[in-house]
Symmetry: C2
Subunit: 131 residues, 2 copies
């Protein structure tokens, strides 16, 4: 049996986000889903992303070039943002030392932390050389 029609779109949004590593924007997700759900509204994507975020099912990486980017992987990990192509990459094998969390606890109650490196990714560097 297939999922109920009512939640097909909601699930599709979450699945889309979880099955990509591009750390997409709402609009990117909307574009992807049009293939399967030709009538899906951009508002629905925004609405559900907000809902997922509230519930902690997904995570916001903040905005890149004025557009919010999301991550379906809620395991804490580090990101690399390329200022040239606006791509976001996961940095495996790099982690925020746990002891930092404790050091911060004097300032308030920490819910999450985010470490982001910014620069030019290898792919953009290579493209620049050949150009």
């Amino acid at each position: 049996m297939e999922a109920t029609k009512h939640f097909r779109k909601r699930d599709a949004i979450l699945n889309c986000l979880r099955s990509t590593d591009v750390h997409p924007s709402a609009e990117w997700i909307h574009e992807q889903l049009k293939a399967e759900h030709s009538d899906i509204s951009l508002a629905t994507v925004y609405r559900n992303l907000a809902r997922f975020k509230e519930r902690g099912d997904i995570v916001s990486l903040g905005t890149v070039n004025g557009v919010e980017r999301f991550d379906g992987n809620t395991n804490p990990h580090v990101h690399f943002i390329c200022t040239s192509c606006s791509g976001v990459l996961d940095l495996h094998g790099v982690a925020v030392p746990q002891e930092l969390n404790e050091r911060v606890s004097g300032t308030g109650q920490v819910n999450s932390c985010q470490l982001t490196f910014t620069g030019k990714c290898n792919q953009c560097i290579k493209q620049e050389e050949t150009a």
Copy 2:
């Protein structure tokens, strides 16, 4: 002697940003400067912030609640963002281990890195208790 009239506003914007620790938005700066420069335009604040950012004189912390926040302190340091009052605090004595930078160099050419903790600040916690 005073600075030339031409650059008084530009300097005022940078000075304003450098002499506060609230990590302000463009609009906050605009409000502050109205006292000394009653005719300053919000566009001028935005324009100069963009210029400063390009030149590396200031740093953007990304957006909090949809508004970009800036920091006149370009020394790398860690931030705490309160989800309750949208305040941004400096975390002194906490730093990103240098070895991480090197670990990331395989992915691209790193220009900067940003570590941000999110949660509820002590002040908001206290206010909640007494309320």
